[in-house]
Amino acid sequence: MRRIALAAAAAALALPAAASNEAELKALREEVAQMKKAYESRIDSLEQRLAAAEAAPQKSQSPQDGAARAAATAGGFNPEVSVILQGQYRRMKDVPERSITGYWPAGGHDHGGHGHGGDERGFSLDHSELVVSANVNPYFRGLLNVALKDGEAEVEEAYFQTLGLGRGFTLKGGRFLSGIGYINEQHPHAWDFADAPLMMKALFGEHYGQDGLQLKWVAPTDLFMEFGAEIGRGARFPGTDRNQNGVGATSLFAHVGGDVGRSHAWRAGLSWLTTRAREREAHFEDTDAAGPNEVEGQFTGRSRTLIADFVWKWAPDGNPQRRNLKLQAELFRRSEHGDLACASDVGTSPCSGGVGLGRLRSAQTGGYAQAVWQFMPQWRVGYRYDWLNSGSKRYDPATVFAALDPANAYFTSHRPNRHSLMVDWSQDEFSRLRLQFARDRSMQGVTDNQVTLQYIMSLGAHGAHKF
């Protein structure tokens, strides 16, 4: 505007004969000078207002030259969306009804026998994860994680989380992976091996999810200290859905962590989960004189799990990009006590119509320890050892084995173990290819040498991972 006015004035000045009058010229010059002055003062005041606006703290978050330019459209409100593609080729023995000897099969759990890194031989597509998350408003954030596979869409996580509770508190509500242990909160794409640790499979079917509430508190200390409590429906293995009003599962956990120098960081934790099962099912064979039948074993009682976890990471000078080492171990102890029963529709079966088999108490332990070493950019190797102890079980053999075959895997004492060796290559944090060898001795009498070739690709706005 100012420029146009000046140009017009200049053009007017440049006009020859017409404006030759000295007085007219002077008047014109004065007018131009006044205009200039007026515009200058207006620009000055605009500049002052701009400076004031920039200095005001609330305003400075508003889009300026910087970050938020692209978000000016309604599309800017779209949540962060990411998709994780996973698939594999697996070579392993053909074992019907794979289970872990000595452990109650987690078959009642949603994941059944075909969880992530499942039991399919040959080429297979793993669950594809769809993750959508966004801030709901200044007080809440929401996240949805759906695992998709042929004909099924399983809601892995769907929760809200508070942002504004303050004083170190965070409340989470909905369905979420429980904060117990270390690996339990990680989705399969974040695992360092192609499958879950054996003990996680044995205890939770893969991981333990809660439908309920989680309250976490971070202490205001130099040492990282975090305490959490969860209450939930408790429908997942090792519990069962009990159609009740109260709390079905309770867990407590505590984590501590910190740095040692510039290159080391660690975290350790202790967690406890208690839940109840009613007529939790598993397949057993009975002692029918007419030939064994497949009958349903049922456990009704309390199940408690104790987990100790530890993670140590080394990255020279705090730069993990070129070389780093990650040590990780978890110890588990599960104790259950309640009543055993069996049921069958077959008339000749000793379980016919449902028969109580007395008290059952069990205490089982196990764990895993792993090391993953990135020896050069993009390349990592890792070794994991899994060990389980089917532990002690107390029941009345006379009653139980009158109905159930003592050869059933659950009653067998066995110490399952597995060695896994992996090497993976990641172009960047969005793609990973992995080759894994495992010698799996989780079933008595079977040594299964497994080879897995796996890919993990993540598309879109992939959020940051936890430690």
Binding site: G66, G164, N319, A464
Partner: protein, 300 residues
């Protein structure tokens, strides 16, 4: 005068307050907070000068620090996207969540360069908001400092005047330093350089350096031997005077090129602590200029 009285009253009304806890994502922001706030801020940096701020883990120690922070100073423009959102969320500290007064992003006060027209990971680790390495342009600290002083004043209203005075003192020193650096850098204008990572876009813009080659094929992607060979061919056609490398990056690619193209490698501190000489914001740029100028005097 009225404002002064209000400040005075506020000072009298409040008991001696503890220093503001500042969680900075980089040493440069901790240093800037100290320049402005002096004793009134307890500034701590989540990273040090030899760390790649793109790739930091959301370590427990960072969450513990963020838990107690009154103010988070971040670079923004997605530089810290791989870890800061997790640290903030996990901290349970409501005051420092994005959008709150306790969260300050420097990028909001900077004219961004290299804003991509299309955002697609086929182009590597691109940032939708533009190149986030603006701290290599010393002029940036004036604008960011001014906004930071206003934010500190808003958070700690009792000492608002002190923060404003702190900023004015800093700005005065900084302006004279800027004049000194710009005078020193006259001979750098138009000098062709190769860079290992596009971390110097703003430095080039400020000092008039001319970037003729980037050793990374895409941002954040380490170059392979074949790509470096291509760069070498390009450098033969359009020679550079030096290779610039951020101090936190591995030196192999720049050394490889430098040996073959007979160029000096200049290791530049991107932030305070990047080199032994870069002890604060002033020595950071003293050292940057000294390193650039000494490479210029070397014969090719």
């Amino acid at each position: 005068m009225k404002r002064f009285l209000i400040v005075l009253l506020a000072l009298l009304a409040l008991p001696a307050q503890a220093a503001l806890e500042v969680f900075a994502t980089g040493p440069e922001w901790a240093a800037l907070a100290r320049e402005i706030g002096g004793e009134r801020v307890n500034a701590w940096s989540a990273t040090h000068g030899l760390q790649d701020v793109h790739r930091i883990e959301a370590r427990p120690s960072l969450i513990a620090r963020a838990r107690r922070a009154d103010l988070v100073i971040a670079t923004g423009a997605e530089l810290e996207i791989g870890w800061l959102p997790v640290v903030l969320r996990e901290s349970g500290n409501a005051a420092i969540q994005p959008g709150k007064a306790g969260y300050f992003e420097a990028a909001a006060h900077v004219r961004m360069l290299d804003v991509p027209k299309t955002v697609d990971r086929i182009h590597g680790d691109v940032h939708a908001a533009g190149n986030p390495h603006f701290v290599t342009d010393a002029r940036v600290y004036l604008k960011v400092g001014e906004a930071l002083a206003a934010r500190l004043a808003a958070l700690d209203a009792a000492h608002a005047a002190a923060y404003q005075a702190g900023y004015r003192a800093f700005a005065e020193k900084w302006r004279s330093a800027l004049a000194r650096w710009e005078a020193q850098a006259k001979s750098l204008r138009g000098v062709p350089v190769a860079v290992q990572h596009d971390a110097f876009v703003y430095l080039e813009d400020w000092l008039g350096l001319k970037r003729v080659a980037t050793l990374e094929p895409k941002p954040g992607v380490e170059p392979g031997a074949a790509y470096l060979q291509e760069v070498l061919v390009r450098l033969a056609a359009e020679p550079a005077r030096m290779v610039l490398r951020p101090a936190y990056q591995h030196d192999a690619p720049s050394r490889w090129i430098a040996e073959r193209a007979k160029l000096p490698v200049v290791t530049l501190p991107l932030t305070v602590g990047g080199t032994a000489e870069a002890k604060d914001l002033f020595t950071l740029f003293d050292d940057t200029l000294a390193r650039l100028l000494s490479a210029l005097t070397l014969k090719n």
